[in-house]
Amino acid sequence: MANKISINKLNFYYGEKLAIENLNLKIPANEIMSIIGPANSGITTLLRTMNRLCDLTPDVKIEGDVLLDGQSIFSEHSSVTELRRRVGIVFDVPTPLPMSIFDNVSYGPRLARKRNKKPLSEIVEKALTEAALWDEVKDRLKIPAMSLSGGQQQRLCLARVLALEPEVVLLDRPCSGLDPISTAKIEESLVELKKKFTIIISPHNTQQAARISDRVAFMLMGKLIEEGANIEVFSTPKDQRTNDYIRGRFG
């Protein structure tokens, strides 16, 4: 299967501090890739590099390359805004903007000026349906998004990304702080969504990784320790540290 994203010899520095060291990773299309590891392993940094949100942080240095469909995302010819439309991200805490549900979900498409192609209302309905939120909010799209529950807000954030019809969806611990029902709903949508998108998730625990992912990568202190198919990594990890982590000996 074709690789959607290839990360080649990536080094990432915050100032002098090395956050990701010589990382190589190939991410196949239409699969769920889980990147697991304890806090401070560089996973958030890695996710934020893939759609160049790290550009917003002052004083970072990046070596190596990240290819999306074989094209470097750092090349001068590629547009950052276009990249971010193709590679969406959901953050670890729900981040609704202070506007209505409808305006939140249609935010991206409105900026992209795609309104002529398809009516916004259709885009919004489709995205909310895909994020398993439509039934709960269809009668009150005009209410402030902030008034939704935490779990609903997080699904709203997922819908907001899906409204741009991206190719890759990055999720940075999207279920931390969510109740089990909301978590289950998000997991269900993800499994459904991988038919259309490539999904890269930093799950909030190893059980979640085991439940939903096709492939699993384990990162520790900025290094990729091991990567493989879900079952392989969880049943027969090659590295002792992976074994210790997934058995809960540390992390």
Binding site: F91, A112, L164
Partner: protein, 278 residues
């Protein structure tokens, strides 16, 4: 919780209550005193006729027009520069030499007494540019005077917009300008408006700088090139020259009511147009 800390709690609470009540009482007393002395003077005649015999008799129609035109002019001139500078400082720069120069200048400007602005306005606008004593000279002078406040409050408002709003907007493919317009401005506009209201208050209250730049003409101004005294200047003259204490209190009462109205209307407008979706 032991008895000691409970007593301390009570004392602290009582102390804060007394202080707050004192402040409120003083403020209410001042307003009530002026309104008590001034309200009886205010009638339709007082509001619509120009002052006669240097303000001993007649109304304050021309000072009202003078105040409003100087204020509107000053805010209209200062707003784009002030808010623009604030956006530059908060969004477009990460603390280089230019930023530090701007900061230093605004902070210095904020500490200068208004009479100095008046002197500058007199020399530069009235004399060098030949604008004479006029509403335009006064408006320009006060515009410079309110710039620091405007920059400071707007910058604060922009900076207090959560970083996540910007990140979300960028992550959804927003450009810098789209992000500022759609994610930052809607959240910052309330704080920016508060800064504007503060500035309006300073314009309305200004005397020293305006005596030297807008003059003290009592005739109804016909254009911004005409000299006109503002209510605050009128009040000052009436009291200092012992012309009419009665009319002075009437002017002060109108001034207070005007400031009050500006606040109410501005807040209502902010609530009406800005606060939706929250």
């Amino acid at each position: 919780m032991n008895v000691n800390s409970r007593t301390a709690e009570k004392i602290a609470k009582g102390f804060i209550w007394v202080i707050a009540l004192t402040v409120i009482a003083v403020l209410i007393f001042i307003i009530a005193f002026i309104l008590y002395r001034g309200l009886s003077v205010i009638n339709w005649e007082f509001l619509t006729s120009v002052p006669r015999r240097s303000g001993r008799i007649g109304g304050i129609a021309s000072p009202i027009v003078g105040t409003l035109s100087v204020t509107v002019l000053a805010v209209m001139i200062a707003m784009p520069f002030g808010v623009g500078t604030a956006f530059y400082l908060a969004e477009y720069t990460r603390g280089g030499i230019v930023t530090r120069i701007i900061r230093f200048c605004t902070e210095s400007l904020a500490g200068i007494p208004s009479i100095i602005y008046g002197l500058f306005g007199f020399i530069f606008f009235v004399d060098v540019l030949g604008l004479d004593w006029s509403i335009l000279s006064g408006g320009l002078t006060v515009a410079i005077m309110i710039l620091p406040t405007l920059i400071r409050t707007s910058e604060e408002a922009i900076r207090s917009v959560p970083k996540t709003y910007r990140e979300v907007s960028y992550s959804l493919g927003g450009t810098k300008w789209q992000t500022i317009r759609k994610a930052v401005v809607p959240s910052a506009i309330r704080g920016i408006s508060n800064g504007l209201i503060l500035s309006v208050g300073r314009c309305v209250a200004e005397t020293a700088a305006l005596i030297m730049t807008a003059g003290d003409e009592l005739v109804m101004p016909r254009s911004v090139m005409d000299s006109s005294r503002t209510m605050a200047v009128h009040f000052y003259t009436l009291v200092m020259e012992g012309l009419s204490e009665r009319n002075a209190y009437g002017t002060a009462a109108v001034l207070i009511i005007l400031v009050f109205l500006i606040n109410v209307v501005a807040n209502a407008m902010i609530n009406r147009f800005v606060a939706k979706g929250r």
